[in-house]
Symmetry: none
Subunit: 386 residues, 2 copies
DNA sequence: GGAAACCGGTCAAAGGTCAG
DNA sequence: TCTGACCTTTGACCGGTTTC
């Protein structure tokens, strides 16, 4: 078992799911015997339930059996973690009637249950996710550090990765939260540049990325830079409701963008960032692990414009690697049936994101036409102009 | 469930109410299935009965149904405890075993549902795929039929679906293959219109689509029409190598589009249709089942522009339905490990497709500016112009 | 080494189903 | 309609393993 913290459940502690008396910490959450068993059975069987009502049924001791969909959702919501479910209890004991005899040739027997894991696969996938998550957290620290802005894109790609030299960096007070205030054009520009620079440091942590030729690196980065920017902006936005994107500094953008940040001739894409990315992320309850893996999938885009034909197979292979890791992470956490749905829904956010990025590109073209008014930073230009 | 004690009912114990064979302790009293169920239903429904006689009717196995008043009184008299009755539970779905009609010697599917359970599971998914495939094949026949072009989009959406009236239609000789030849602008226009009309017939086969309001139908259709067009074009293109898209008539488009079909000011998107859709489809060996399900996923886009907020949840639910069905189809066919990869790769084609569609939209804008030269068909305009 | 904590397994007894 | 044989689901309890 994982080194889960062993704690004593306080006398009188209640089940986080149904408020019955908790019998201990089960799957990481104080819970009663009923909810504990219900959660395990649901994961192991892979059952998926459909709410007969609106998906917001009450769950308490008296009615906990009334809607299995909402009960299971509550289990997940209060933090029950399916990874604490053990599937190989019979490693020594001969209690189990039938053992999965062997996976010779066909290998089809693992079609259905998550529990019959392919042993060589999951540890590797876990490692991948763990690694991505670590990088993600480093990134979150770097976001609030002083970053020199002297280098251009190519120079930055060639330089050693800042994420591994964080001890040499100092916090930047202009990034820290004081209070909410409407973002100015300057705020938005500052955060764009900062996030794009962060993105360059981030991509350098991928071994397979660094192996690519300079021009292939540029192709992937130019394809991905603004996606990285927008995804981080909305994912790490403070949650002040569905109508505000809030930067770490407290600067916010409203659904109906303030006049001061509107650009004539450009269609606002902020409301779409909220409706099609921020809200779905929150609804899907995307964890930092899933978020990091999703970004890796998007970075390794074999269809990136100007990517060389030679690099495509490698890029595709990396994408597949992160897709698999993401799937195993999600299906282990949520069970196969729910996992399949969450995985599908997450991936199907990609076309909407692409569409928003395309709209942004178009806006940049417009801004370029009025260059004398809306000067686009040269760094941003290098990364985002076609 | 508050079992007072864990005890087994002794062999040959009789029902305390009617002296039938007891199946266990129910509500604190050894009783038969009939009296157990009768007691619960009476309590839950709140019915009160009146005795037709003197209130002292005999209650035994043979006459226990004669007087419900006296049966219920006896239940109480022998100690059945209404406090052991619980609240309503969730539905559990069909309990009768059903056989898969497919003949399959390997007996593997017994793993899946030895005893069936919740309403939506694999058999439902199979049905979904089967249904989509049937429609897909009807579509392929309709593609080569004479189609009147008199109606506009809304009228077409209101009319009965042609796919169910194919016997009234005649083959259109202009669609049949004679020989390969370079497509003219007229060929391309003709096939665009034909495929878009086909798309309107196709969407009408979706029950959930037809249920939507007129404006929501329009939102989905306008979002999806050109995707349907391009996907069918490349999926059903004859395979004459990676550099040709070939219409059923034999008209072909080259990777480097012929001058005759180039539009000044517009970026060619044909090579991208080949590289990012046609070739991946072939590499992934996408079957007609998978292709049909993938299109259904793309049709039900909850982020479609101008889709009403009320319709979003329904659209999302449909998307999830087809995502699940697609996954189960693929994972059954390829096994979990390879299935996950194929599923992920297929879904991740969506952003590239979106990008191509966006480029096409932009081209349409350009064409519109030169309207006097490139007249866009009004039907196409209705479906594809923003 | 022993107690505490939490894992999965068990099965009597709840509720749900659907021909008859 | 109501009934009840037959089905699934539930959860208190148990033994085993791991962690202090």
């Amino acid at each position: 078992m994982q080194p889960r913290q062993r704690r004593k459940v306080p006398e009188g502690e209640l089940c986080a799911v149904c408020s019955d008396r908790a019998t201990g910490y089960h799957y990481g959450t104080p819970s009663c015997n009923g909810c504990k068993t219900f959660f395990r059975r649901t994961i192991v069987s892979g059952h998926t339930f459909v709410c007969q009502y609106n998906g917001n049924c009450d769950v308490n001791k008296n009615v906990r059996c009334a809607c299995r969909h909402c009960r299971f959702n509550k289990c997940l919501a209060v933090g029950m973690d399916a990874r604490a479910i053990q599937n190989d209890r019979d490693r020594i004991g001969p209690t189990k009637k039938f053992r999965m005899e062997k996976r010779n040739s066909s290998g089809e027997e693992d079609q259905i249950s998550v529990t019959s894991s392919s042993p060589q696969q999951r540890p590797a996938d876990d490692k991948v996710i763990e690694n991505l998550t670590g990088i993600e957290q480093l990134c979150n620290t770097l976001r609030s550090c002083v970053m020199v802005e002297s280098k251009n894109v190519k120079e930055t790609l060639m330089s050693p990765c800042l994420l591994y030299r964080m001890n040499t960096l100092e916090p930047d007070p202009s990034t820290t939260f004081r209070n909410l205030y409407p973002a100015s054009m300057e705020d938005i520009k500052m955060w764009n540049i900062r996030e794009l620079r962060l993105g360059l440091e981030w991509v350098k942590t991928f071994e397979e990325f660094v192996k690519l030729s300079e021009s292939d690196q540029m192709a992937l980065v130019r394809n991905f830079a603004f996606t990285f920017n927008i995804l981080n902006r909305v994912y790490y936005s403070g949650d002040y409701g569905p109508d505000k994107i809030v930067y770490p500094s407290g600067a916010y953008i409203l659904r109906q963008a303030q006049d001061s940040v509107k650009i004539p001739g450009c269609r606002s894409i902020y409301h779409r960032q909220m409706d099609e990315i921020m809200i779905p992320f929150r609804k899907l309850d995307v964890s930092i692990h899933e978020f990091a893996a999703f970004k890796a999938v998007l970075l390794f885009n074999p269809d990136a414009c100007e990517l060389s034909a030679e690099a495509k197979p490698d890029v595709q292979r990396e994408r597949t690697k992160y897709l698999s890791a993401l799937f195993y992470y999600i299906s282990t956490k949520y069970g196969l049936h729910h996992g399949v749905q969450k995985y599908g829904q997450l991936l199907m956010m990609a076309p909407s994101i692409q569409n928003i990025i395309d709209q942004n590109d178009e806006n940049m073209q417009v801004m370029e036409v009025f260059e004398h008014i809306w000067r686009i930073d040269s760094f941003v230009k290098e990364l985002c102009m076609r």
